[in-house]
Chain length 155, copies 2
DNA sequence: TAAGACGTTGACTTTAACGGAAACTGCGCC
DNA sequence: GGCGCAGTTTCCGTTAAAGTCAACGTCTTA
């Protein structure tokens, strides 16, 4: 079973529109956990590795986060995953509860960060929108005046 | 009149949490129009200069825009200002209308960029929020179970 | 008039990669 | 099994962007 498809660096790079060099770089700076290798040393990326890479790329493109910031986020997500497993396997309810609480805390922190960022962007957008609205008003007014002139001359 | 308060580079830097060196750098790469100077050569920044700097800093921090991208935005805003003056002075309505249209186009483009960015961030936040919600549910469930055990043993 | 900003210039640093050399691996084909 | 070649490995150097640091001289102002 589980013909779990592993990809080599070149294929992964193409899929994510990065270069193999960049993937090695991400690994080097600890952004990406070292993937498994073939006997000969070639890197083999699992579906999970690729998922993780995808969120890295998304964070980078969407938020303009630095790789250092992304690393923090990714690490938080990683510890979240650990907590989930821990909670799942825990036999006693108290341990389970504590894991969940901890996980919840991490999640809420992430939400807060994103929420803050989003609100700031929204505010900036609203400012532009308001200016836009005012210009549109002026424009309509001018166009009405022009229309009036045309009607007048054609009569 | 107009005790228009001019600030020196150090004060401006402090206000914006940049270094004087960075301000000179922004000027050097054409991001910031050269401010006026004292007789001795010290830079004097006007309120308008500082406003402009504030949007630069905001764009950088919020969106992770590169200085080159920011320069484009700033230039667009600058030309918008020119257009507004032009439109104000233009005697014929058609010129006025055309200026306004052009300005509007620039503004709408900016709004679109910001809007897109904002929605994407919001989406990511919602994903986290959803996970958060689910964990909270699980947690309540566990807590209820724990409660049940306590009641049971104490009876 | 002395201390402390500020001026310019050039070299240095950090971040996020890119490029190339030299050796090694995987794999299809004879 | 051996050959060839594309893909990969590590190592090391380079680059562009965005600054920072240092030196040394000038200006402001208490």
């Amino acid at each position: 079973m589980s013909a779990e498809r592993y990809l080599q660096i070149g294929e992964v790079a193409e899929q994510l529109a990065l270069t193999p060099r960049t993937l090695r770089y991400y690994e080097e700076i600890g952004l990406l956990a070292p993937p498994s290798r073939m006997e000969g040393g070639f890197r083999l990326y699992s579906a999970a590795d690729i998922d993780r890479l995808e969120s890295i790329v998304q964070l980078k493109r969407l938020l303009g986060f630095s790789l250092r910031e992304i690393k923090q986020v990714v690490e938080a997500m990683e510890s979240l995953k650990l907590l989930r497993q821990e909670s799942k396997q825990a036999s006693d309810l108290e341990t389970k509860r504590d894991s969940l609480r901890k996980g919840l805390e991490i999640l809420e922190q992430q939400v807060e960060v994103l929420d803050g960022r989003m609100r700031q962007v929204a505010e900036l957008r609203d400012q532009f929108n308001e200016r836009s609205r005012r210009v549109r008003e002026r424009l309509q007014q001018i166009e009405a005046e022009l229309q009036a002139v045309v009607v007048e001359t054609s009569s």
